[in-house]
Amino acid sequence: MDIDSNRSLIAAALNRIPAGDRPALQTVYRLTSAKLFGVCLRILGERAEAEDVLQEVYVTVWRKAADFDANRSSPMTWLIALARNRSIDRLRATRANRNMSPIEGATDVADTAASADTALESLQEHARLHGCLDGLASHERVALRGAFFDGNTYDDLAKRMNVPLGTMKSWIRRAMIKLKACLEQ
């Protein structure tokens, strides 16, 4: 199934949930749970905990689907943000399982090799973001990756990359400003 039809299926199902349409929730789950579980698992690193958070995510979808506005956001953006936020909340509450292995800015392992292989996000958007990430300094890109994929805090990242906290903050902030400018071009 192509991305556009998937996207409109998910958006249509999300729009039916506020009326209490249970099959719509099941449709959303069927189409998106493997991706969202991947997101939770990537951040939490542990299946049982990730499944727990995944459950919270869909119960939240059931209760808050009315907050989703198809005019402002794509359904996957909304769902992924929800899954990331719930996972990060859990990670912050437990402070366990997080990836704290040291990383060095200089040895940026082939970031560009990664590719999107899903029918849920647009390959074009992925390529565009990647193009802009490639324009960052390698230490900036590595720091952003640690935050996005491992759910690391400023403090975690400063430790992992062995730099002062203030340095890490300015790396990330500068990287985000550059990223935005590039994406808006």
């Binding site: 506020p18 009326a19 209490g20 249970r22 099959p23 929730l25 099941q26 789950y29 749970s33 493997a34 991706k35 579980f37 991947g38 997101v39 990730a50 499944e51 995944l54 459950q55 869909y58 119960v59 059931w62 209760r63 402002r72 956001s73 794509s74 996957m76 953006t77 992924i80 943000a81 990331r84 990060i88 912050r92 990664a114 590719s115 999107a116 292989d117 899903t118 849920l120 996000e121 647009s122 390959l123 958007e125 992925h126 565009r128 973001l129 952003l144 935050a147 996005f148 994929f149 759910g151 690391n152 805090t153 400023y154 300015s170 990330i172 902030r173 500068r174 985000m176 400003i177 935005k180």
Partner: protein, 224 residues
């Protein structure tokens, strides 16, 4: 940080929140602000949108089937709230429907969280229904999962205690949750390890007191 000073501080805070680098009071305050400050929430959404395509790199992993069961039973309990709120806010004159929902709600409200038994009713590799029994109140709520209806027959629920004899509980729906009352003699039989089964029966259900059509799915009751 001199080159970040001219940049909008709110936008940077939104970026930090969306990226997930904040913790403790900083994160709590920013999350709270996003729930009250529309403009700030919009900035956060814009950042989420910029970053979301990155998740395309994350491998899809199937969660175990129990996760859906848990979601299904957690959401079954507040389904009628949903319907009621929806119909209240709607321009349809659906007073009767709302009243029915309210009655259902009061009924569901009597569900005590204690002494709950759960059964996933499966057959042919498919999960057809998820049933939650409140043994204190003597009610069973049955949520359709993958069950798809049949034009000529209706699904009927049976309780099979260890003696092996099926007792009729009531008719189910493919399209909505059904809450059935267990008569006291059945409520006492609805225990751990008793089995719930679904058979396909003519409209109105079996008239013989036993399943007449095929039993398409079964599931063992377990305490939550």
């Amino acid at each position: 940080m001199s080159d970040t000073l001219d940049h909008n501080e709110d936008d940077l805070l939104a970026a930090e929140l969306a990226l997930g680098v904040l913790e403790g009071a900083e994160r709590t305050t920013a999350v709270h602000r996003a729930t009250r400050d529309r403009a700030f929430a919009r900035l956060v959404e814009e950042w989420e949108q910029r970053l979301a395509p990155w998740a395309g790199e994350i491998r899809e992993v199937s969660p175990s089937p129990e996760v859906w069961d848990r979601i299904s039973s957690a959401t079954a309990r507040n389904r009628l709230w949903h319907s009621l709120n929806f119909w209240r806010g709607s321009s349809f004159a659906a007073g009767a429907f709302a009243a029915a929902c309210l009655a259902g709600l009061i009924y569901l409200g009597t569900f005590a969280p204690k002494q709950t038994l759960l059964a996933t009713i499966e057959g042919g590799g498919q999960r057809h229904f998820v049933a939650t029994i409140d043994s204190a109140r003597g009610t069973v709520a049955v949520v359709p999962a993958a069950f798809s209806g049949d034009a000529t027959r209706v699904p009927e629920l049976w309780l099979i205690p260890p003696d092996g004899r099926p007792r009729a509980v009531g008719l189910l729906r493919a399209d909505q949750t059904v809450v059935l009352t267990l008569p006291p003699e059945l409520a006492t039989l609805a225990k751990n390890n008793a089995v719930l089964a679904v058979s396909l029966e003519p409209p109105g259900g079996s008239t013989t007191g036993l399943p007449t059509g095929p039993v398409i799915a079964t599931g063992k009751l377990t305490s939550l």
